[in-house]
Subunit: 79 residues, 2 copies
C-alpha cells in the first residue's frame, strides 16, 4: 500500500523557511502572497493491505522517527 | 485562497533523504517498508479567488522558485 505522510510545523511555531520563501516570492514580483509555511512530505510503500493496521503502523513511524511531535503535526493519507 | 504545492524528486532521480529514512525505519524495527521518497510541501495563502488564475500563478511560482524542474515535479492543490 502506498502512503503519504505530511509533516508541518505546528501553527504557533516560527517557520523561517516558509518566511524566506514568502520574501523571495515578493522579491520576484509575486504580490498578494500571505502566510507561507513549509513542511515535508514522505511517500512510503508498506506491505500492509488493511487500512486500520496501515494507519496504526504509520502513526508509530511518525511518533518514533518521521515527525518531532513537540513542534510538528503529521497527517497520514493512504492511497 | 489557500493552496498547497508538493514538490517531489522525479522518479529517476536518486533520493538520499528518502533512502536514509527507509534505512532508519528498518533499524527501528519497521519491516516491510519498500521505497521511501521525501519531498517538500509548501502551503501558501494567496489573494486570488478564481481557480484558473490561482493555478496559473502558482505554476509560475513553482517554475521560478519553488521547484527545480530539471529534477523535481510539482503538484498544486487548491483548497
Amino acid at each position: 500500500m502506498k502512503a503519504r505522510v505530511t509533516v508541518m510545523l505546528k501553527s504557533g511555531v516560527l517557520d523561517p523557511q516558509g518566511k524566506a520563501i514568502g520574501q523571495a516570492l515578493g522579491r520576484l514580483g509575486f504580490s498578494g502572497v500571505g502566510d507561507v509555511r513549509q513542511g515535508k512530505v514522505i511517500e512510503l510503500d508498506i506491505d500492509e493491505t488493511e487500512q486500520t493496521r496501515a494507519r496504526a503502523r504509520l502513526s508509530e513511524m511518525c511518533e518514533k522517527l518521521l515527525a518531532n511531535t513537540v513542534i510538528e503535526n503529521y497527517a497520514i493519507e493512504l492511497q
